[in-house]
C-alpha cells in the first residue's frame, strides 16, 4: 500500500436528484482525496451535500457523474455484490443512534451483525471485547436498544462499527442527536478508539468546533460545492471564505465547543435555562 | 347527545314515508285473477329445446301444455289418447295403426297430419335429436302414411315399452316447418303457447286461438322458478304464487297446515332414491357385502328424517304405480345390525373403507349423512366425498365408474331396465336379469307384468342397490284452485285442467 496514494479519491463527482423539471443538484462536481490514517472532517450546514458525499464514499448511492475510488478500486457504479473490498474495510456510525439500531434486536445480535458476513469464529467473545472497548457492561448484550440512553446507544453503534476491524470509519454527525452532557464523552471515546485501532476517520458535522476537536484536515461544503479544503487549524484561524468565517463565528468559545453548544443553543439556554439542561 | 330539531324532523319524514311506501305498495300487489294462475316450481329450463338439451324441466313445462303427442299419460299413470283418438295393434304386436284427431293445427296455423307424424318419428331417429332418450325410438323400423288421419308405425320387434315412451318427450309432435329455433320458440298443437320466458325467473304460458280440443279454463299460467325453498314457501304464504308443485323442503309442510288457506296434495312419483353400489369392482362385487348394507340401514328412519315421513319403501326399482310392483320385496331386508355384521365378517371385509361419492344436492346430502352413520355403526370406514352436480358427478361416478357407493334420484319412468345394461354405472351384469327384461318387453301385457315382477325380485335377491325410498310429490295449492296434477308419473306438469272454483 503506497502511503502517498489516497485511500479515497473523488473525481468530478456530481449527484442530481429528481427527474426532468425539478432537478436538485446535491453535488456539483467534487474533487477530493482522503489519505490513510487521516482524521478528515467535512462541515457544512444541512442541505450542503455532506451526507450525500459520504454516502457515495460508502457505496450506498451512485453519483450522476464522476468517479469514487477506494484504495484505487472503483466504488461508484459498482454493484453491491462486487463491493466486498469496500465493505470489509469501511464502517459507518449514524447520526441517530435510535433509528440506526433495530428496535427488535438484542444488543448482542446488533453488534455481531457485521461478524456474520466474515464468518467470525467466535462472535460471542468479540462482542464482549467490543462492549468493554466502548465502556458498556457485559450484561448489556442481552438487552434491547430502547433500554439504553442515547449516549449508550451511540456506544453500541460504535461497537458495531468496530466489530469487523475496519480501516475506515465514517461518522455522520454522531453526536448531534445526543444530549449536550454526553456529547463530550462520545467524542472522547471516538478520539481514543481511532488511535487505538489505527483508523482512518471521516467525520461529518455541521459544527466546525467539533470537527476542530477531532480532525486534522477539514473540507467545507456549501450548496453542493467544496468551497475550501485544508488543515483544520489553518482554516479555523485564517480562512478567507465568508461562509467558513460565519461557521466559525457561530461558536464563540472553546469550552462551549467541547460541550457541543452552538450559538443558537446558547441563546436558547439564556432564555429558558431549565429546558436546555433537560 | 343533542340531536338538532331539523335532523329529528328529517328522520321522522324518512321513517313515515318508508312506512307509507311499503303500506301503499302492498295494496297494489299483483294477485292472480280468475283466468290466470302462478305455479311455483324448483328446476328451471335451460332453454325451450328438449331435443338437444337434457333435463326434466323443459318437458315438465312444455309437454301436454304446448307440445302434444299421439298419446299421453294420465295422472294415474295410464296411457290415454291425445292427438291419436284410437289405435290398433297387429297380432304380432309389431304394427301400430293410429287414427288421428281431425282438424288439428299448430299454434302458427299449420296443419297437423299423418305426414307430420312420420316426419317427427323419423326426426327423432335422425341426428337432429341428440339427447340419449332418443334411443327409445330405435325400435321403430318404418312409418307409413295411410291417409291424412291414419298412420302406421312398424316396429322391428314387439315392444310394450315403445307406446309408453310415446307419452314422453320423444313422442312430442313438432311443426316440420317451424323447427329451426327450438331453443327460443315453441310451436306445438297444445292449448298454450310460450308467451314469455324470463330465464332465472319464470315462464309464461298463454292460451292460443284455434285450439283443436277443449279450451282450458285459464287464459294464462305462469311457472315461477325458485332456487331457494324458503323463497318459494314465502311466495305462497304472501300470495304472490297460487301453488307449489313439488315442495322441496318437506319439513316446511307444517307451514301450510291451515286447511282453510292451503290444500296439500301428497302425490306419487317414479323417483327412486337409490343407494347405488359399484357391483363391478371393490368390496361390493360380493353380494354378501351388498346385502349387509341393505340390512345395516334403517330405511324407515331415513324416510322420517329426510322426507318428513312422506317417502315410501319400495324394496326394488319399481314404484307402486307400476303394475309389476311387488309389495313383498319391501321387507326383504329388515333393519338388522347383527345380520349385517355377520355377513360382513363372512365376506371378510370388516373395517373396509367405502368411497362414498355423492352429488352436491341437498336431499342426497341428508340421506348420505345418515347412511354414513349406519355404515359406520357396522364397522365400515366411510369416506364421504361431495361432488359438484351434474358436471363432476357425471364425470367421475356416472361415466368414470370411479366410486364404491353413491346416491342419486332415478326419476325416469320404468327405469328398472337400466339394470339390464352392464355398462350402466351400477356395473350389474346378470344374463338372467337381461333376458327377463327382454322377454317382458316383447310379451303380452300380462307376460310383461310377470316377467318384470321376477326381474324386480332378482334385483332384490342380488341386493344390487339399496333402494332407500321412493320420493313423494307434495304440492300445496290454494283450495280454490283445482286441477293441479297430484302425481308426477310422466314427464309433464299438465296444467290444462287448472281452474278457479
Amino acid at each position: 500500500m503506497n502511503a502517498d496514494e489516497p485511500m479515497i479519491a473523488i473525481r468530478g463527482v456530481t449527484r442530481d436528484y429528481g427527474r426532468t423539471g425539478r432537478v436538485v443538484h446535491a453535488l456539483k462536481g467534487i474533487d477530493l482525496d482522503i489519505y490513510h490514517g487521516e482524521r478528515f472532517g467535512i462541515v457544512g450546514e444541512s442541505g450542503s451535500g455532506k451526507s450525500t458525499l459520504i454516502r457515495l464514499i460508502a457505496g450506498l448511492d451512485t453519483p450522476t457523474s464522476g468517479v469514487v475510488k477506494f484504495e484505487g478500486k472503483r466504488v461508484s457504479g459498482v454493484p453491491e455484490r462486487k463491493l466486498d473490498f469496500l465493505r470489509s474495510q469501511l464502517q459507518y456510525v449514524f447520526q441517530d443512534p435510535m433509528s440506526s439500531l433495530d428496535p427488535r434486536m438484542r444488543i448482542r445480535s446488533i453488534i455481531a451483525e457485521p461478524l456474520i458476513a466474515e464468518h467470525h469464529p467466535d462472535p460471542e467473545s468479540r462482542v464482549m471485547e467490543l462492549l468493554q472497548a466502548v465502556g458498556l457492561p457485559a450484561s448489556a448484550a442481552d438487552r434491547f436498544p430502547h433500554q439504553f440512553s442515547g449516549g449508550q446507544r451511540q456506544r453500541i453503534s460504535i461497537a458495531r462499527a468496530l466489530a469487523p476491524n475496519p480501516s475506515l470509519l465514517i461518522a455522520d454527525e454522531p453526536v448531534s442527536a445526543l444530549d449536550v452532557s454526553v456529547r463530550a464523552q462520545i467524542l472522547n471515546l471516538l478520539n481514543e478508539l481511532v488511535d487505538a485501532f489505527a483508523l482512518t476517520l471521516v467525520f461529518v458535522s455541521h459544527d466546525l468546533s467539533v470537527v476542530r476537536y477531532l480532525c486534522e484536515r477539514v473540507a467545507v461544503m456549501y450548496r453542493g460545492d467544496l468551497i475550501e479544503v485544508g488543515e483544520t487549524d489553518h482554516i479555523y484561524s485564517d480562512s478567507a471564505q465568508p461562509y467558513t468565517r460565519s461557521l466559525i463565528e457561530a461558536v464563540p468559545r472553546l469550552d462551549n465547543a467541547l460541550a457541543g453548544v452552538t450559538a443558537r443553543e446558547l441563546a436558547a439556554r439564556m432564555e429558558a435555562p431549565q429546558q436546555a439542561s433537560a | 347527545m343533542r340531536i338538532t330539531p331539523r335532523i329529528t324532523a328529517a328522520l321522522a319524514i324518512v321513517v313515515v314515508s318508508a312506512v307509507a311506501l311499503t303500506g301503499c305498495a302492498s295494496g297494489s300487489a299483483a294477485k292472480s285473477t280468475a283466468t290466470t294462475a302462478t305455479i311455483g316450481l324448483t328446476a328451471e329450463p335451460a332453454n325451450l329445446d328438449f331435443t338437444t338439451t337434457d333435463g326434466a324441466a323443459i318437458p315438465q313445462a312444455l309437454l301436454d301444455n304446448v307440445y302434444e303427442g299421439l298419446v299421453t299419460l294420465n295422472n294415474d299413470g295410464e296411457i290415454e289418447p291425445l292427438l291419436a283418438t284410437s289405435w290398433e295393434v297387429s297380432s304380432d304386436n309389431k304394427d301400430y295403426t293410429f287414427t288421428l284427431a281431425d282438424g288439428v293445427t299448430f299454434s302458427n296455423g299449420d296443419k297437423f297430419t299423418a305426414e307430420t307424424v312420420k316426419w317427427n318419428i323419423e326426426n327423432v331417429k335422425s341426428d337432429k335429436w341428440t339427447i340419449s332418450l332418443k334411443s327409445y325410438m330405435d325400435v321403430v323400423d318404418s312409418v307409413e302414411v295411410v291417409d291424412d288421419t291414419h298412420v302406421t308405425v312398424k316396429l322391428s320387434k314387439p315392444s310394450n315399452d315403445w307406446l309408453f315412451r310415446m307419452t314422453t318427450r320423444i313422442g312430442a309432435m313438432f311443426d316440420p316447418d317451424a323447427s329451426t329455433d327450438l331453443a327460443n320458440t315453441a310451436v306445438g298443437t297444445g292449448p298454450y303457447t310460450v308467451a314469455e320466458f324470463n330465464s332465472g325467473d319464470s315462464l309464461v304460458l298463454e292460451q292460443r286461438d284455434g285450439y283443436w280440443g277443449t279450451k282450458p279454463a285459464l287464459e294464462k299460467v305462469t311457472f315461477k322458478y325458485f332456487s331457494d325453498p324458503n323463497a318459494e314457501n314465502s311466495a305462497l304464504q304472501s300470495g304472490s304464487i297460487d301453488a307449489i308443485s313439488g315442495l322441496s323442503s318437506l319439513d316446511s309442510m307444517s307451514l301450510f297446515s291451515d286447511t282453510s288457506k292451503y290444500t296439500i296434495q301428497d302425490g306419487s312419483t317414479n323417483a327412486e332414491v337409490v343407494l347405488s353400489m359399484n357391483n363391478a369392482s371393490g368390496i361390493f362385487k360380493d353380494v354378501r357385502v351388498r346385502q349387509a348394507v341393505n340390512y345395516a340401514i334403517d330405511r324407515q328412519a331415513i324416510i322420517t328424517n329426510s322426507t318428513a315421513d312422506t317417502g315410501k319403501l319400495i324394496g326394488s326399482m319399481v314404484p307402486p304405480t307400476d303394475p309389476w310392483f311387488d309389495s313383498s320385496l319391501v321387507d326383504a331386508y329388515p333393519y338388522d345390525v347383527d345380520k349385517a355384521k355377520e355377513l360382513i365378517s363372512e365376506a371378510g371385509v370388516e373395517g373396509a373403507t367405502i368411497r362414498f361419492r355423492i352429488p352436491n344436492l341437498a336431499n342426497v346430502s341428508a340421506a348420505a349423512q345418515q347412511v354414513q352413520s349406519y355404515l359406520t355403526a357396522v364397522g365400515f370406514k366411510v369416506e364421504l366425498d361431495t361432488l359438484e352436480f351434474p358436471a363432476q358427478w357425471l364425470d367421475k361416478v356416472f361415466t368414470g365408474h370411479d366410486y364404491d357407493m353413491s346416491i342419486i334420484n332415478h326419476v325416469e319412468a320404468r327405469d328398472i331396465a337400466t339394470y339390464a345394461d352392464p355398462t350402466y354405472y351400477w356395473g350389474y351384469d346378470n344374463a338372467e336379469f337381461q333376458s327377463l327384461v327382454a322377454k317382458a318387453d316383447a310379451g303380452t301385457a300380462d307376460e310383461q307384468v310377470s316377467y318384470l315382477k321376477d326381474a324386480a325380485a332378482l334385483l332384490s335377491k342380488d341386493a344390487v342397490s339399496d333402494w332407500l325410498y321412493l320420493e313423494s310429490y307434495v304440492s300445496v295449492v290454494k283450495p280454490s284452485l283445482t286441477g293441479l296434477p297430484a302425481n308426477q308419473l310422466g314427464e309433464s306438469l299438465n296444467v290444462t285442467d287448472l281452474a278457479w272454483s
Binding site: S99, H146 | S365, E388
Partner: protein
C-alpha cells in the same frame, strides 16, 4: 421520523387497554375454549344421525336436535373447531402469499415492485366468492377450496400492508447499517423487515380473521363451503335454512355463533390496532 418516534411513544405513553380489546379477547377466548372442549367432550357424537329429530331444548339436548336427529349443542362445539381452523388456514395462506410479495415489491427493483403491485390490484378484482365457485368446480367443493379462495382474496390486504411497512423499515438507518455489514437482501428481509412489521401484520390478521369466518359462512350457505359430515356453523345454517320458518332456532344458534365470533375477531383487531398503532392515539 415516525420510526424514531414510535417506540418512544409506546413506552412513554402507557395507554389504557381498550374495552374492545378486552371484549374481543374474551369472545375469541370462548371460541377457543369451545373448540378445545370439543376434543375431549361433547354431549353426543355430532355426526351420528338418529330419529330423535327436531327436538326442543331439554336437559339431555341443551339446544335440541336438528332435522337428522343430531345434537345441536355438540355440533356447535365441534363447529368452533372448524371456524378456528378455516380462519387460521385461510389467513395464514393469505399471509404466506401476501407478505413475501409485499416485502419483495418494496425491496426488489422498481419495475418488479410495480409489477407486483399491479398483480395485487388484479387479484383484488377476483372476490373470494368468485374464486371459491371456480375452485369448487375445479377441485371439488371442500374446506380446502374455500380456504384457498378466501386466502387468495385476502392476500392483497397483507401484500399492501407488508409493502408499506417494508418501505418504511427499508428506509431506516439500521437497514443501511445492515447493508454496510454485508447482509444480503434476504437476510435483511428476514432479520430486520419481518420482525419490525410483524406487529401490524398480527393486527391485520385479526381483522382478516373475522372476514374469513364471514366469507366461509357465506360460501357454506351457497353450497361452496365445507362439505358434510364435518359440522360447521355455516353448513348448519345452510341445512337449517330450508326449515327456518318452522324451526327458527336451528338457524338462530349457528347464526348467533357466527355473528358473535366475527364480532369477537373484529373487536380484537380493532382493539389491537387502537392499542398499538400510534396514529390512532387521539381516537382514544
Amino acid at each position: 421520523m415516525t420510526v424514531l418516534m414510535k417506540p418512544r411513544m409506546s413506552t412513554r405513553h402507557r395507554r389504557s387497554i381498550p374495552a374492545s380489546l378486552i371484549a374481543g379477547a374474551v369472545i375469541v377466548g370462548l371460541v377457543i375454549i369451545a373448540a378445545l372442549v370439543s376434543f375431549i367432550w361433547t354431549p353426543f357424537d355430532p355426526t351420528i344421525t338418529t330419529t330423535d329429530r327436531l327436538l326442543s331444548p331439554s336437559g339431555e339436548h341443551f339446544l335440541g336436535t336438528d332435522a337428522l336427529g343430531r345434537d345441536v349443542f355438540s355440533q356447535l362445539l365441534v363447529g368452533a373447531r372448524t371456524t378456528l381452523y378455516v380462519g387460521i388456514i385461510s389467513v395464514g395462506f393469505a399471509a404466506i402469499i401476501g407478505v413475501p410479495l409485499g416485502i419483495l415489491s418494496a425491496a426488489g427493483p422498481r419495475w418488479l415492485g410495480e409489477l407486483i403491485m399491479r398483480f395485487i390490484d388484479l387479484l383484488l378484482a377476483f372476490p373470494a366468492l368468485l374464486l371459491a365457485i371456480i375452485f369448487g368446480a375445479a377441485f371439488g367443493t371442500s374446506t380446502f377450496s374455500a380456504m384457498m379462495a378466501i386466502g387468495i382474496a385476502t392476500a392483497p390486504a397483507f401484500a399492501r400492508l407488508a409493502r408499506s411497512g417494508a418501505l418504511q423499515v427499508l428506509s431506516t438507518e439500521y437497514v443501511l447499517a445492515a447493508r454496510i455489514a454485508r447482509r444480503g437482501e434476504l437476510d435483511i428481509a428476514v432479520r430486520h423487515v419481518l420482525p419490525n412489521i410483524l406487529g401490524m401484520l398480527i393486527v391485520q390478521a385479526s381483522v382478516c380473521y373475522g372476514v374469513a369466518v364471514l366469507a366461509e359462512s357465506g360460501l357454506s350457505f351457497l353450497g361452496f363451503g365445507t362439505p358434510p359430515p364435518t359440522p360447521t356453523w355455516g353448513r348448519m345454517l345452510q341445512e337449517a335454512q330450508a326449515i327456518m320458518f318452522t324451526n327458527p332456532m336451528l338457524v338462530v344458534w349457528p347464526a348467533v355463533c357466527i355473528v358473535v365470533a366475527v364480532l369477537g375477531f373484529n373487536l380484537l383487531g380493532d382493539g389491537l390496532r387502537d392499542r398499538f398503532d400510534p396514529k390512532m392515539e387521539d381516537n382514544r
